[in-house]
Amino acid sequence: MRPLALPVPQPRSSPGTRGAERSPFPAPTTEREHNDRLVGTLARNQVIFHEVNERLREIAGPAADLTLFVCECGDPCCSEGIELDTIEYAAVRSMPNVFMIVPGHERLEVDRVIDDSDRVMLVEKTVLVDDADLKAALGSRPWPAHGL
């Protein structure tokens, strides 16, 4: 799986050592804190790229045949695209907690794969996004249900 361009956690000092007790610096971030932050970042990035795709669809208009969308994986440096037609895109968006990604870009920390094809993989987010505005944005668009 591709590495993300995110900071790697530093090893934590052994508890009880004199150096750690006397260190004038703040305690290093624990691995769990780092993982929690990473998961939160991945989930938020997915929501932002979901929003980018909503705007691409809006720009393309209802008569567009095929539109090139962005991959909604959580990697902020991902530059791959997914080409879908209007019906296919609407089918994805009819499922509010589902994101479309390039096959192989899934992150099992935040994703559960629910559908897979040559062109697109659909994943359901398994972590909560705690920002009310983002949650509202995820669930606010009533798309008709179509089969993909």
């Binding site: 970042t41 938020r44 990035n45 932002i48 790229f49 929003e51 980018v52 705007r55 691409l56 809006e58 720009i59 393309a60 567009a64 539109t67 090139l68 969308f69 962005v70 902020p76 440096c77 530059s79 695209g81 920002d131 009310a132 505005d133 983002l134 944005a137």
Partner: protein, 95 residues
């Protein structure tokens, strides 16, 4: 920059990258405005900055410059370089 500001700056970089992708993929005519994401520091912001790809490119030639909706969350020390009725251009160069 303290850890809070670092996180806010990371939010802005994420929005910036998302807008770069939006500008690349949007199929528009020259000068046509598209609804970019506001690049303020609030990760929950889904505000719309209406701008053309040309305007976006000029502002973002400088890696320290962002556009945000007027009044939106900024990082301490950011300077407003330009304002119009659609957005503010801010710089983090001094940070």
């Amino acid at each position: 920059m303290d850890s809070r500001d670092e996180r806010l700056a990371e939010n802005q970089r994420t929005f910036r990258h998302a807008n770069e992708r939006l500008g690349e993929l949007a199929d528009v005519q020259d000068g046509q405005r598209i609804p970019f994401l506001c690049e303020c520091a609030d990760i929950a912001c889904l505000g719309r900055v209406e701008a053309s790809v040309g305007e976006f490119d000029v502002i973002h030639e400088d890696p320290y410059r962002y556009f945000v909706l007027s009044g939106h969350l900024r990082i301490d020390g950011e300077k407003i370089l330009e304002q119009n009725d659609r957005y503010d251009v801010v710089s983090k160069e001094a940070l």
